[in-house]
Amino acid sequence: MKKKMLVLLSLVLALSAFLAACGGKSGDDKEKVSQNLRLNLSTEPFSLNPGLANDSASGNVLRQTFDGLTRIGKDGEPENAIAEKIEVSDDQKTYTFKLRDAKWTNGDAVTAEDFVYAWKWALDPKNESQYAYQLYYIKGAEAANTGKGKLDDVGVKAVDDKTLEVTLANPTPYFTQLTAFYTYLPVNHKIAEANPNWYKDAGDDYVSNGPFKMTEWKHSEKIVLEKNDTYWDKDTVKLESVEFSMINDPNTTLSMFDNDELDRAGAPFDTVPTDSMKALKDKGTLQTQAIAGTYWYKFNTEVEPLNNVNIRKALTYAIDRQSIVDQITQGGQIPAMAAVPPSMFSENEKGYFKDNDVAAAKEALAKGLKELGLKDASELPTITLSYNTDEAHAKIAQAVQDMWKKNLGINVKLGNEEWAVYIDKLHSGDYQVGRMGWLGDFNDAINFLELYRDKKGGNNDTNWENAEFKKLLVDSQTETDATKRQQMLKDAEAILMDELPIAPIYFYTDSWVQKDNLKGIVISGLGDAQLKWAYFE
């Protein structure tokens, strides 16, 4: 009997210890009029060191805590941030940035050396930055990062404390967009040199130079940002604090929003559950915005019968995109009949061909069958349509399977795999038709087109290569006339949309719900959110 009492007693003790540990802090979340924003980040960030970050969660935090040479403004165009003045040489290969008087959160001045240090640190192979290739536009950067050249030869130089000179490998008209990207953010070199682990936790050594500073980081639990009083543009910032919880369950976060535990739920910080989209839309609370991303099916152009361009055309034309976005995705997505999102080529809202053009599809099919020496579509081998395991992808694939069967009489088998397995199969060419998506890193068409430049390029997957297409892209790199360059890229896209190694399905959107009095969260064309201008009314 005594022993059992002991067991019971210890359980009671354990519980009371817990109660004691938990007591004290309750009844928060009551202040409504204050400028404290509560958001949810769906996952712990990979790293809050700008040189190491390579994921959206990290980007969502860094964009608020750091300020680069430029920042994407409210109108979606890059505007000067730490750079006060930008001079571009005639050959468009040398950029001279004059820095403004700005301070780090510890009071140090932001100097040109901080940029040089940060960029070279990311390029140093021993620091294993997975996004170092974002800096390859700088002369000598790729060589230094791949061990073929020296870091000293990278084209970035601090002329003096307030002048940064950058030499590029090629004219890059979108370079001021890139300098707003997180891999290009500065790092306080004094701190980083003294403490190589400065970025691992919030604290005295975690210094930043943006609208907010990070005051608390409980890994996998929450991140707290507070307004940064040393920020050069601090009068613009109205929010006092931002608290990111880290909950990876969209249904829970939507409930939390409904229950006034969050001020906003949805992209780009986390997601709105697909099942709730329709209800929220009917209620009129769902907000959506087009972003630079394309959801497409890739064709493996080296397997029968997908090596035939007319078969690919038939398959592409026979998809009813409008009903996919209306019935399945329901987030206001735009049917895609082009590869490059409308934020880069505005006429791409219409695209290169008609959506759900069954007649043209049948015509192409007949032509393709003839070329293959077949009489009927039923003689074609069964095509496997692959996707990574996910409810929305599955529904889209089932719809497309049905469209291809009904419109063209082609038999389609569905196959799905877990994400890492799926990616591996696609990258190694072990598939026939596979779904994939691409979200732009910067707002320029080259970002989408260069995927298909080289057959063995890491993200091509289709085994497709076209000499003319490649030449246009290569030539565009040295073209300094913006209009001509834009035309070259459009011509290239026309080739891509004629050869169709990919079947575009829709252009992505961000969808979210937020408090009525929450204003000024700016979503860029790439779908990135900035809180610099946000406030509660």
């Binding site: 817990f18 790293s47 890994h219 639990e221 535990e261 877990e418 890492a420 890491g458 993200n459």
Partner: protein
């Protein structure tokens, strides 16, 4: 007793070694690697990363290195979280899961045993039926449905508790109940059936014949024997509950260890997969050992040193 313990410990180490070996090699068989991503890395960068993490070494070198590090309780860096080592993940996640788990076990035991005893004592009366209906619900409703249901009723409709997150006692109530529901029901059924069995024994009749009170018979003679199956269920239950339930932790946004079990596999975060598996195995092995020792304390008929359990 000491001989028995040494032997058990040896077997534990052997099982652990088997678990480590199997996990290590099966994990590597899965396609993809920690750097697999939608936007494929330039090959030079990937090669550099593989080199840094020792993924280019022959398997026996990697395996040997890993065993050496485990002995020093060093699980290595995480591939997916640059700011934390696997030891950090465990040190921060486990206490959270432990508190949640203990709370759930406390609820499960208190409610489960009580329900079971009532059901057995009022055999085939309405109390019995009611208790068993509750138990059937507890077992058959999946925990994620239970969790969503609790959130809806007690957080959104009644506003008694917050929907999610972790840190205060009120935030822990709903997840603990959701986590305890299944085990509570199981314990109730277990207690009921073994109580019924014990109640039909001769010595209970003897006790009754002696004129002992119903309370003394129940507490002193019946429960003590009837509780044994519950105790043996406690081993795996506490290991499972204490290391965290993935589903519950995900739904309630709790930063425990459970989430890492599943997420690390999707991420191919090799070191986290290994670290969490090893840690979980140790907890499981130790709790099974503790249960066996507890047996001897509750039921003196079971002699540990005899080599065979008297079940």
């Amino acid at each position: 007793m000491i001989k028995y313990l040494t032997r058990r410990l040896l077997f534990m180490i052997l099982s652990l070694l088997l678990i480590i070996t199997a996990t290590f090699f099966f994990m590597r068989l899965a396609p993809g690697n920690p750097f697999t991503s939608e936007k494929q890395l330039p090959p030079e960068i990937e090669a550099n990363l593989n080199e840094h993490y020792g993924l280019n070494d022959p398997w026996y070198v990697q395996y040997g290195d890993y065993l050496l590090r485990i002995v020093q309780w060093d699980f290595g860096p995480s591939f997916k979280y640059k700011s934390q080592t696997v030891n950090d993940l465990i040190n921060e996640g486990f206490p959270v899961s432990l508190v949640l788990g203990l709370e759930a076990i406390f609820i499960a035991l208190a409610v489960g045993v009580t329900l079971g005893i009532i059901a057995a004592l009022k055999h085939n009366k309405w109390q019995d039926y009611l208790a068993m209906i509750i138990a059937v619900f507890g077992i058959s409703v999946p925990s994620f449905i239970m969790a969503a249901f609790l959130q809806y009723i007690f957080a959104i409709k009644l506003g008694w508790f917050p929907v999610a997150r972790w840190g205060t006692f009120s935030q822990s109530v709903l997840p603990a109940i959701a986590l305890a529901a299944g085990p509570t029901a199981f314990i109730a059924r277990l207690t009921r059936s073994s109580m019924l069995e014990v109640l039909s024994n001769d010595y209970i009749k003897t006790a009754r014949a002696k004129g002992l009170g119903e309370l003394v018979i129940t507490v002193k003679h019946t429960i003590r024997n009837a509780i044994l199956p519950v105790v043996s269920y406690m081993g795996p239950l506490s290991a499972g509950v204490v290391t965290g339930s993935f589903v519950i932790e995900k739904i309630f946004g709790i930063p425990g260890l459970g989430a890492h079990f599943v997420k690390s596999i999707g991420n191919r975060d090799y070191t986290v997969i290994m670290g969490v598996t090893v840690f979980y195995s140790i907890i499981l092995l130790v709790s099974v050992l503790l249960v066996d020792i507890l047996y001897g304390l509750i039921d003196p008929r079971i002699k540990l040193a005899g080599g065979k359990k008297g079940e």
